[in-house]
Amino acid sequence: MSVMEYLPEITAQSLDEVLAGWQKEYPEMGVLVLLPEAEKEAVDILQQVCNSRGTKLVGAIFPALIECEAFLSHGVWLLRFDQMPYTRLLPDLPQEEEALQGTLDSLLQGITPHLESDGDITLFMLFDSMVPHIGTILDGLYLRLANRVHYMGVNAGSETFQPMPCLFDGERTVGNGVLLMLLEEHRGAILEHGYEVPEQMITATSTEGNRILQIDWRSAFEVYQEMAREQYGIEVTRENFYETAVHFPFGIVRANGIILVRIPVALEEDGSLFCVGEVPPNAVLALLRAPSVDSVHTLDTVAEGLIELNGSLDGREVLLFYCAGRRLHLGIEAATGELLGLQQRTSAGRIAGALSLGECGSTTEWGYPLFHNATLVASLWGE
């Protein structure tokens, strides 16, 4: 019996049948649900069915689902926990520093008692993509938990970046929060984007969370337009911003040459740019020429990383999150190609996942957890 079940049609009966089958063998089971944005109304049914069965439920709404090599906008993924792990759904994360530290301390108190086992534990985080300071939250969590857990996370929400309650459990559907899960006997995820670093750097002189107000002390959009024009001969306007910007994301440059991608997704009247993911004040940015994505390197890195962590993936079930911005940039065909390439490289029995709006993790095992864009995040599920 697979630990992953995709239902193309969401009905109470089909849900109940799957849960009934699982529950027979795993009475203490729980379920993680991945729901495409188009099926967001199905949360009610999911909660009703799970509650009627006494099955613990957590889940999130994403722009689309991944089922092996395909992106799907309908249906639902039911991912089984043989035994429901510790989870916590926390809405409305505070932004003010002192309140945030208090919230993190509170999270730590909840998590710490579950870290007693010697085995690997992964802190799996599903954020609402509208949370503007995920990088800060990651820093805070890492400072508190350090290497006691592996870090793996993705952002849920609408691909339109309109606020939408996208995290849920058996009783609530919330926004602007995070859903935490402690996956026991889990060795974390592999994360990779393959975006290359250009020569020219700029400095984000003024930022607020995920909003870049000024670059080099000038209007962020003006500089962005100028750089796109100078470096790539592209004319970015207010009208074509959304379609164009996804191909020319910002990269936050790091000393080891590995960059963090920040895809601008919204343009404000004052010329400031909203990105998926936090941009630290005074961060050194590069304007990435996204077409130079090294897909092969990306897929190799992910597959090899997974194998290195978990051994052969032949026939095993893999959880994959694929950045929506990356798909937008590469196009559906190339993106689908990457899915197929990953399936081939891993020989996984099944790949379940969703399009994500930002990803958390490290590019190396036990590496410093960071918030990324444009990546693939992959891990084993259910072992």
Binding site: Y142, A255, A283
Partner: protein, 678 residues
């Protein structure tokens, strides 16, 4: 350059060592993807020893190390000392105390003269960039930043310490202030220079009924000052606003205050000024003096009643006339007691109504108009009539609102009477009359005052009864006295008749008893005896020899010296006289006088040979008088020897036969006072 810029900005943005180290480590891990980093400051000099003990100052990314922060770790000296480098040293790293992962690779970044940063990882970093050199330029900045931050930490710690001390002191002070103010029974308030209440303690809340939130910010004079005083207080405060001075600043006064429910009550207000941030504020302490006020009023009333009662007793003691007594009492109640008016009424002769007999403080027209009917079922009877019948005081605390006794209300109010008390004058279960007392103010008669007034009414009733009984007694006593005098006169007449009879049987001694009586009375007077005692002496003397009535006349009348036997017969006369009069009830010891008048101090006398004090004084006086008169008078058996011979006889036997004082008095009478027998 961009990385240096980023880290330099982080370093430059911190002012305290610990956040500086943690954030620097975070940025280094961020840029290198090393999973863990350690910082050691204050390294011992490299003197070749293999391991050194050094304190771990910061750790990020490894929970085991994070737990060791602040503690000394034994570290390989070669790992800490040396140039910036990325190297593989599993033998050192895996043996590190606190390490929770099998680290193999380290990136060492020396901090100029301050310590070292170690980034550690299970793998070599996935980059070809010379990480050891990339960060070296910012390490100098980090060293300077550590120094600055340390100084700042020390400074901040000092400030924190000072602040904590100040806070603690402030907290203690505030706690004391809170405790005092919470415990204070007096309302305490602080008023700013715009008349607004800026502090209001719990007692103020209790006293006035306004909560903290209702009072704070409110205009004090609108809130707690009765409307009629508002303008005066506001005017006074306008002067205070500019100068911090005012007519009541620094003083304690008694004023009326207003509660939330609109009721007024007396408070003692102490007010003083203080300047806060250049503005004058007033601190007011208010004490509810309702009880004290009531006590004072009660004391005043009690004192007034007591004074009246005391005066009443004085009048009662001196009273001889009932009408005068009643008038004096009414005037006392008004003049001394300070009451508005008082009157006393007795039932009329036909018992149809109470009739005011005496009054003070009230006009006759009022008294005449009073409805005081005693007829059964009188519907409009007042408290006086009620008190008369019930024998209980009747109080009308507020005449204006008294619905029970409407009869005389209008006239009383018109004359300024506000409250009244009717006190029955009861003696031996009978109501003699009623005492009515009026006061100017309502509620004037409290329990204590009632008690005292009641006592006064009882005393007055007793006084009246006493006067009445004294009059009766005096009448009776007059009659008795007259009868007694009549009896006494009759008795004396009888005695004189008997004495005359005795004298008639002994013509030689005729007039003897009368003269003895004259001399004896004179001696008793000389001795300062009382009139009563002298009267006894006189009566005794007049019938001194009544016993001689049984002595045969031939013995009494025979001239010449008596034989011994005859004299023996004569010597019985005192006893016989005694026997004659002993059963007559004289108020004086007449029988004893007769019996003892021939006794002598030395026991040589007769009939009983009494000595000294056994002989009553009257008998001692008569003994002297009898002898002096006998010697001075003619006798059948001898001529008169004269007064001097009589005196010489008693002088010669002064102190032996005769009482010395009596002899002396007798001698003085004759020789100094010119006494002589008629």
């Amino acid at each position: 350059m961009a990385v240096l810029y980023d880290i330099a900005l982080v370093i430059g943005g911190e002012v305290s060592v610990q956040p500086l180290l943690v954030k620097t480590l975070q940025r280094l891990l961020y840029h290198t993807s090393f999973p863990a980093g350690l910082v050691f400051l204050g390294l011992p000099p490299d003197d070749g020893v293999p391991t050194v003990e050094v304190r771990l100052d910061a750790a990020v990314g490894d929970f085991g190390f994070a737990e060791m922060v602040g503690k000394p770790l034994t570290m390989p000296a070669a790992l800490l000392h040396g140039v910036a480098e990325v190297a593989e040293a599993p033998e050192w790293l895996q043996a590190l105390p606190g390490a929770s992962r099998p680290y193999r690779v380290y990136l060492r970044l020396p901090i100029d003269h301050q310590g070292v940063v170690l980034l550690i990882s299970p793998h070599f970093p996935g980059t070809q960039l010379p990480l050891a050199h990339v960060f070296q330029p910012v390490m100098a900045n980090l060293a300077k930043a550590i120094l600055l931050c340390r100084h700042n930490d020390i400074y901040a710690a000092g400030l924190v310490s000072e602040r904590n001390t100040a806070r603690q002191s402030l907290a203690e002070s505030e706690e004391k202030f809170r405790s005092i103010n919470a415990a204070a029974q007096d309302a305490i308030m602080l008023i700013d220079d715009e008349d607004r209440i800026v502090y209001w303690n719990p007692a103020a809340e209790r006293l006035f009924g306004f909560t903290d939130s209702e009072a704070l910010g409110a205009e004090v004079h609108r809130l707690i000052v009765p409307q009629r005083y508002y303008e005066r207080f506001v005017q006074g405060f306008s002067h205070f606003r500019g100068s911090g001075k005012g007519p009541i600043i620094g003083k304690t006064i008694e004023v009326e205050a207003l509660r939330k429910d609109g009721s007024e009550f007396p408070v003692e207000l102490s007010i003083d000024s203080l300047q806060l941030k250049g503005h004058w504020h007033a601190v007011g302490i208010l004490r509810d003096i309702t009880e004290r006020h009531e006590s004072e009023v009660a004391l005043l009333l009690a004192h007034r009643a007591l004074r009246t009662l005391s005066g009443c007793n004085s009048i009662l003691v001196r009273a001889t006339d009932e009408q005068r007594l009643l008038e004096d009492i009414c005037h006392l109640i008004v003049d001394t007691g300070g009451y508005h008016a008082a009157w006393v009424a007795y039932p009329s002769d036909d018992q149809s109504r109470l009739r005011p007999l005496a009054s003070a403080g009230v006009d006759q027209a009022y008294l005449d108009a009073l409805r005081l009917g005693l007829e059964p079922g009188a519907q409009d009877s007042g408290p006086a009539v009620d008190a008369f019948f019930s024998h209980q005081p009747q109080i009308v605390q507020d005449i204006a609102s008294d619905s029970i006794h409407p009869a005389n209300r209008a006239a009383a109010l018109q004359r300024g009477m506000a409250s009244a008390i009717a006190l029955p004058l009861v003696q031996n279960g009978d109501a003699l009359g009623v005492l009515m007392v009026y006061a100017d103010e309502p509620e004037a008669f409290n329990a204590e005052e009632l008690g005292l007034l009641r006592e006064m009414a009882e005393d007055l009733a007793f006084g009246i009864a006493t006067l009445r009984s004294r009059e009766i007694r005096q009448r009776l006593e007059g009659a008795e006295h007259e009868q007694a005098e009549r009896l006494q006169r009759a008795l004396l007449g009888t005695i004189q008749a008997v004495a005359l009879t005795v004298e008639m049987r002994d013509p030689y001694t005729a007039g003897h008893q009368l003269r003895v009586s004259q001399l004896a009375v004179a001696i008793a007077n000389e001795l300062g005896w009382s009139v009563e005692q002298i009267e006894g002496v006189r009566l005794g003397a007049m019938i001194l020899d009544i016993g001689k009535i049984y002595v045969p006349a031939e013995i009494l009348n025979r001239p010449g010296k008596l034989s011994e036997m005859e004299f023996e017969i004569i010597k019985h006369h005192p006893q016989i006289g005694y026997d004659i009069v002993k059963d007559v009830e004289f108020p004086w010891p007449v029988a004893q006088i007769i019996l003892q008048h021939h006794e002598r101090l030395d026991g040589s006398g007769y009939p009983n040979g009494l000595v000294a004090e056994q002989i009553i004084p009257e008998a001692r006086v008569l003994a002297v008088a009898d002898v002096v008169e006998a010697i001075a008078s003619h006798r059948p058996y001898r001529p008169s020897y004269g007064v001097e011979a009589g005196l010489q006889e008693v002088i010669d036997h002064r102190g032996t036969l005769y009482d010395t004082t009596v002899v002396d008095a007798c001698v003085r009478l004759f020789r100094e006072r010119g006494f002589s027998f008629d």
